[in-house]
Symmetry: C2
Subunit: 336 residues, 2 copies
């Protein structure tokens, strides 16, 4: 198994990516091809002992966050991202990981790799930290004009992923809505509820946004627009609160002393909010495995993404998705 | 000026409402009619000295949160909410405050009182706490199928409110979106951006959800579905963090000691998150002033809502909205 990793996507220099790849290739028994600036990658690799399972492919361009996605994918042919996708397409690797421009990654995944037959729209499916662990939230912006069939398919894709990659036996899926009762919400929510209720999905009904932090669900289903808002607001509020907490403890000698006394609790809290150990977000619905990690990813997030990618491949999640979609897609009329 | 207050709407018994009304009638120089269980209200009133500006109207029914809104408004004719609306309609009061069932309040406001001419949909417009104070967020669920013209009208209504009730000179309005640049988002956001950009509104462009806690804007514009999600997630995450903070400090004698040292900061933080002093949320776009306070409102939130309602009436906000809408509504084609 060979995994392709984009070294130029994130905000960090290649040292974090290289560290993750060296450690990941050993611990998870995979070959890895790093695409990026060959010189700096090779320099980094020298820091480690045996790197025989790591290959390096040079890329002279970088797609950054200011690039317009479609233009970038079509014109930056020697970028690490386009090269990575091309290799994946040609079968020179079994999966692709990048911390790069989300829009460009989605365009690349759709244009170069393509969608699974029967899947209308792929979904970007990150994990968000909750009191009991994490929940997979999808979609968070891969598509902004969402129909009922999309949400329905998200449920099947996420269920396959959680079962086969995360080992969750019977993943619970909830529909994000503005009320708990059936019949709440807009047309999209009402329709989606009806379909999910009748499906083989372990559907637990509606969930309200206020219950996300403490909810006992594995999958939160929503359209890409509101999913993106949930993801970013969660991040924004968490960051804001953490900064308040920090200010609280750094004011003077007494507050610093106080911080020492609750050190363990602060550590627990940080641990709970640290979702890097759950790895990056898969683009579910794409023909081959493509994962997006945070732009600011450190080695640990890449490392766990490599682990998940391996499980994704080994457990044939894509075939699982194909099967579940072909078995259930027929339930849909053209208009929903 | 006479303000009608629903004493049966909230989770609290009438003591909180009565306290707010007695204090509010004096401090803000208004007459108040409390609608609810006459006996218990009069018993509460006896606790205070001069209550000559308070009238009580008996209601034998209560609309609660489990009631289906349309049915409740149509059948519970002797409920405190329907009676309050009827009095407002007949001119026996100048404004109405309730902590009751949001859906029923909206239905009552629309069916019994009616919309301002030219306003397509009223908006429920609460304040959310931010680092610099508060921002008005609208809509948060008064309507779930939102069109461009609605968001456009929200901007004018919120601007009038903030200018004339909160004394904000030139309120800054931002559009909640999944990216900062113009052209981001779904069809609704793209269209709304175009219209807002060309409008007399002090439009500052898109805002991403992650920036809400620290943003320097007065108005956040969005559709009722995503607005409801923002409001509830904000609330949910804040509650979750506060509970973690509490657990952190109550573990043992050392952590309790630690809490003492950061007491001032915790108080500051609680103060910042306490938006009761900003009063309840107006239903903007309704012909007469209708305010919704939290179901769990204590006297302070009712009290400040009375204050805002008085300013709303005194400053003719409804006329201001009418004027701004009739001057600008013509910019719209039928289809947006």
């Amino acid at each position: 198994m060979n995994i392709i990793v984009d070294a130029l996507g994130g905000d960090e220099n290649s040292s974090e990516v290289v560290k993750a790849c060296v450690k990941g290739s050993k611990d998870f028994d995979v070959d890895i091809t790093i695409v990026g600036d060959e010189l700096s990658i090779k320099k980094e690799l020298k820091k480690y002992g045996d790197t025989s399972r790591i290959k390096v492919v040079n890329a002279t361009e970088k797609i950054d966050n200011y690039d317009e996605p479609v233009t970038a994918i079509k014109t930056k042919k020697d970028s690490s991202m386009v090269k990575g996708f091309d290799m994946l397409k040609r079968g020179e690797g079994d999966g692709f990981i990048s911390a790069g421009n989300t829009g460009a990654l989605l365009i690349g995944a759709t244009l170069i790799i393509g969608r699974i037959k029967g899947i209308d729209r792929p979904a970007l499916s990150p994990f968000i930290p909750t009191d009991k662990g994490v929940s997979m939230l999808l979609d968070v912006g891969a598509s902004t004009n969402c129909r009922c069939i999309n949400i329905y398919q998200y449920a099947f894709m996420a269920t396959s992923y959680l079962k086969h990659v995360m080992g969750v036996e019977n993943p619970k899926a909830a529909l994000l809505n503005i009320g708990l009762e059936e019949g709440k919400g807009d047309k999209l929510r009402k329709e989606a509820y009806e379909y999910l209720k009748e499906s083989p999905i372990n559907f637990t009904g509606n969930i309200e946004a206020r219950d996300i932090p403490t909810a006992d669900v594995d999958i939160i289903l929503t359209d890409g627009f509101s999913g993106n808002i949930v993801l970013k607001l969660y991040e924004g509020v968490a960051k804001y609160f953490t900064s308040i907490l920090k200010n609280m403890f750094t004011k003077n000698i007494f507050t610093k002393l106080s911080a020492l006394m609750v050190k363990g609790s602060i550590k627990d809290f940080k641990g709970k909010m640290d979702y890097t150990t759950y790895g990056g977000a898969p683009f579910l619905g794409v023909k081959k495995p493509v994962f997006k990690t945070h732009g600011s990813s450190k080695w640990k997030e890449f490392y766990y993404t490599i682990k998940n990618l391996k499980l994704y491949i080994e457990n044939n999640v894509i075939d699982e998705i194909k099967t579940s979609i072909s078995e259930t897609g027929g339930n849909f009329s053209e208009n929903v």
